[in-house]
Symmetry: C2
Subunit: 122 residues, 2 copies
């Protein structure tokens, strides 16, 4: 049994204006968190100059994060959840659509594998 | 050229009291961020009941995050940095020591591979 699932999502060829819109990204990440069944606790976002946004939404089940490079139409998103109910991969489609990404790639990793009451790594 | 480096660190057999001490974890993550050469912008931490802490430090170069399971003496830490100067792997030793982890494992992944002005994924 893994304690957590960690999705690393690469969003490419996105709309670069959206990637620089901190309030849009804050709203989007929270909405997607709720959509996949997570409970949003709080968020923390930061607008870089001249461009780019970093943000994190802490959820009861761990976190979602985003870092954007509007100059490359690229965003790196993480969806880290614990428990058996939420599937981080459910976030791929809505995030792809909301950032208008034309290309996406992702990988999902297990975090904290439990064996005989000890934690081991996959 | 990768835009970012992402270290996924598994800290096992840690001191479980430290894993439940939100102020210690906040201080530790910020200190380690500074130690590896990152610039701390802000942090956001949350204490769970009955135990466990989630926290993120946003740095100018991306983020550090931690999720702790004191009941399993386990913490999942991420160190995501962009730029060529900072080496996320430099965070492994200080984090291991500060959380008194007896076992650690980690993997480092590239995020956002640039090729011919386009972003591709490794």
């Amino acid at each position: 049994m893994a304690l957590g699932k960690h999705l690393l999502l690469e969003l490419m060829d996105c709309n670069n204006e959206l990637l620089n819109d901190i309030e849009y990204l804050r709203k989007t990440l929270s909405e997607v968190a709720t959509q996949i069944g997570a409970t949003v606790i709080k968020d923390s976002f930061y607008q870089f100059t001249p461009q780019g946004v970093s943000g994190v939404v802490i959820i009861a089940e761990s976190h979602l994060s985003i870092h954007t490079w509007p100059e490359f139409n690229y965003a790196a998103v993480d969806v880290f959840t614990c428990g058996e109910v939420i599937k981080p991969v459910d976030a791929v489609k809505p995030l792809t659509e909301k950032l208008r990404a034309k290309n996406t790639k992702y990988v999902e990793l297990d975090r904290g594998i439990l064996t005989e009451n000890k934690v081991e790594v996959s």
